[in-house]
């Protein structure tokens, strides 16, 4: 029987865990730098060791994103990356790399314009496995509507938690997320940073304690994103979290690497993926971060 998106996401994290590493989850903006290069880059990332993908749907006013992803979205829109074209790219990718789950990340307005029910059905049919909507907190009625639709189609709804999240909001985000919870490393927007915030390990620990408290046996993983731009930072995050999400650094490379962005992106991604392997004493190092 065909596995659901939630199950495929869980399996990808479980496999990485069994191999003693954090799952590596690169982000790419669909349709960037061009409609043709975009799937080629994503396939090259798969070959370079991606365990899951976060694939962005472009939006004109992405208020959670820094300059790199803003510019990538703008370029994708200029390339004609409508929601429909993006889903066609996902379908093409799902056929080419069927073993890797895709989480779509898109702002709420284009999804509302497309129609939430139609979007979830079409995304599932195209082969998407999960959905991240950065401007839709879990307590809005539209989030409940989206979650119900995703359940019908086996898609994971992934909510974000931030270092500013209160205990009550961590409870809510953990309860409503499926597959994994997206932990925003730092109060801020997407984009490269030179170091991780001091309170990251404690924040991850708060989320983990809540996940354990709610359902000790439930396979709900914790992935950290925002600001992770180097193999060294990837290695640090891998010590404390189940997944490492790298966005702006890879998107920037795709933008700047001329004729063969896939090759340049893939070789950097291989370093990031390698760094996500844990050192032998594993999580013991997490204490060093806090």
């Amino acid at each position: 029987m065909k596995r659901t998106g939630v199950e495929r996401i869980q399996a990808a994290f479980a496999k990485a865990q069994a191999e003693g590493r954090a799952a590596f989850m690169p982000y790419q903006m669909l349709g960037h730098p061009t409609l043709e290069a975009s799937p080629a880059i994503i396939q090259a990332l798969a070959a370079a060791g991606a365990d899951l993908f976060e694939l962005g749907l472009p939006f004109s006013d992405p208020l959670a994103d820094g300059p790199v992803i803003q510019a990538a979205g703008q370029r994708a829109l200029e390339n004609g990356a409508t929601v429909e074209r993006c889903l066609a790219l996902v379908q093409e990718l799902a056929a080419a790399i069927p073993h890797i789950p895709f989480c779509l990340m898109g702002y709420i307005n284009p999804l509302l314009a497309y129609g939430l029910a139609r979007f979830v059905a079409d995304a599932a049919a195209a082969g998407a496995d999960g959905l991240i909507v950065p401007d839709l907190p879990p307590d809005e009625p539209e989030a409940e509507e989206l979650s119900a639709l995703c359940r019908q189609h086996g898609l994971a709804t992934v909510f974000l938690l931030a270092p500013t999240s209160t205990a009550e909001r961590i409870r809510l985000g953990v309860a409503r997320s499926q597959g994994f919870v997206y932990l925003v490393s730092v109060a801020g927007i997407t984009g490269a940073r030179e170091r991780l915030p001091d309170d990251l390990a404690a924040f991850v620990q708060r989320a983990r304690a809540e996940a354990q408290r709610q359902a000790p046996g439930r396979p709900l993983y914790l992935a950290v994103g925002f600001g992770i731009s180097t193999p060294a930072l990837s290695a640090q995050v891998a010590q404390i979290a189940d997944g490492v999400i790298v966005g702006s650094a890879l998107v920037k490379l795709a933008e700047q690497s001329g004729d063969d962005p896939a090759q340049a992106v893939a070789s950097f991604a291989a370093e990031l993926a390698q760094a996500a392997r844990r050192s032998p004493d594993g999580r013991g190092q997490a204490a060093g971060l806090s």
Partner: protein, 409 residues
């Protein structure tokens, strides 16, 4: 459309920050605790007599409230119909109604113990008001402004700098109000632990539409009292219509709200018709169903000008303050309830109204406010000479002189 005749029991937003289907909180998770904190602080301040007394004191001794109403006798006679009364927010300190909300929120910032505020500005009036309040209360202030708006509102940029604010130009998107809001929100997300976002219109995530409305409702409360009181220059009766321009909609919601329960008072909002609805170059969110639909922009659900794919449309208005792709959620709700109606004035109509008010009354209005006057020019002749129209003159026009010189020489 729902019809509710009794507005004495009107209680919105609901506990989810919704005005019917509109409003809500569509923001990154990082900001949610700040919005919850703001809501709590506001609810406490709202029922705190000391807070209200301090705000009233500043309104009276600093802003110059109550602002008067002026019977526009020559304009009324010229149009040959209703008697026109102007609510003179142009006489408020810093030149527009924006100071009411800026001071109210700045007092809240003090109460919450934050030391830095960020704000967006379109016409520059909210930026100036925020810089003014920040200077008065000793708070650090950064104002984001689209570079297109900086060019067309240069005097206000200089004013903000004089008042000690840092003005950061925004070069993304259409380089206007919407893009300034994006950057202000991005700054806020990054510095949320120490920074308050002093949003200037009845827009954005809950609780902003509510607290901006409440701080601006002083306009309508005063005007209602003044109209009823001949000693304050009023006709001694309620108006037949209240007219205000609507960008985000803060001056309109402020003047409308105290009249909601007055059944006989028509409430008319005037959007920016730009170069005409057919041209597609406008900001008339309620007038163009081809490009304006229910959607989410910058934290709130309302009517949003967008393309078929849900990308936000570029807007145009001769007035920077009305040049925005969405509209305050409560306006959308009052329109659904049939309590307020919305029309638009084109750039050309607003400029003609601007000129007429200068010549007839010796008052130079903001181009935003001139849109409301443009509607009055259409409305007044259809009404009898004993009818009364209140128009909210939301700001003064000094900032617009360069634009008007270019447009009409």
């Amino acid at each position: 459309m729902a019809e509710t005749s009794d507005f004495s029991t009107y209680r919105y937003p609901d506990e989810h920050g919704r005005f019917g289907p509109y409003g809500g909180r569509f923001v990154p998770e990082t900001l949610m605790p700040a919005l919850e904190e703001l809501e709590t602080a506001y609810l406490q301040a709202h029922s705190d007599a000391a807070f209200q007394a301090e705000l009233t004191r500043l309104f009276q001794t600093y802003v110059g409230r109550p602002t008067p109403i002026t019977h526009a006798r020559r304009l009324s006679a010229h149009l040959g119909g209703a008697q026109i009364y102007l609510k003179r927010e142009d006489l408020a300190h810093s030149g527009a109604h924006k100071i009411n909300n800026a001071l109210g929120q700045a007092l809240l910032v003090q109460r919450m113990g934050k030391r830095r505020i960020v704000a967006e500005t379109g016409a520059g009036q909210h930026g100036v008001a925020t810089a003014t309040a920040a200077a008065l209360l000793g708070i650090d202030c950064v104002v984001y402004m689209g570079t297109v708006d900086m060019a067309r509102q240069a005097p206000n940029v200089f004013r903000m700098k004089l008042l000690g604010a840092e003005v950061r130009g925004v070069d993304s998107g259409s380089k206007t109000l919407k893009d300034a809001i994006n950057e202000a929100i991005r700054d806020w997300v990054t510095n949320v632990r120490t920074t308050h976002y002093l949003l200037g219109s009845a827009l954005g995530p809950h609780p902003y539409p509510t607290l901006v409305r409440d701080f601006q409702s002083v306009i309508g409360r005063e005007a209602r009292r003044q109209l009823l009181d001949p000693a304050a220059g009023g006709p001694g009766r309620l108006p037949d219509a209240v007219v205000a321009c609507v960008g985000g909609g803060s001056n309109a919601i402020g003047v409308f709200h105290p009249f909601l329960a007055d059944e006989g008072v028509r409430l008319v909002g005037v959007e920016a018709g730009g170069r005409g609805i057919q041209s597609g170059e406008h900001a008339a969110r309620f007038a163009d169903p081809l490009v304006s639909r229910l959607g989410v922009l910058q934290g709130t659900k309302s009517f949003v000008m967008q393309d078929a794919d849900g990308q936000i449309a570029l807007t145009h208005s001769v007035s920077a303050g009305l040049d925005y792709a969405s509209v305050g959620p409560e306006h959308a709700w009052l329109r659904d309830l049939g309590r307020s109606t919305y029309t638009y004035a084109t750039d050309a109509e607003a400029l003609a109204a601007f000129k007429l008010l200068c010549e007839m009354e010796g008052i130079i209005p903001a181009l935003e406010s001139a849109h409301a006057v443009a509607e009055v020019i259409k409305l007044a002749p259809q009404m009898g000479r004993d009818a009364v129209i209140l128009v909210n003159l939301s700001g003064r026009g000094d900032k617009d002189l360069d634009t008007v010189m270019r447009e009409i020489g």
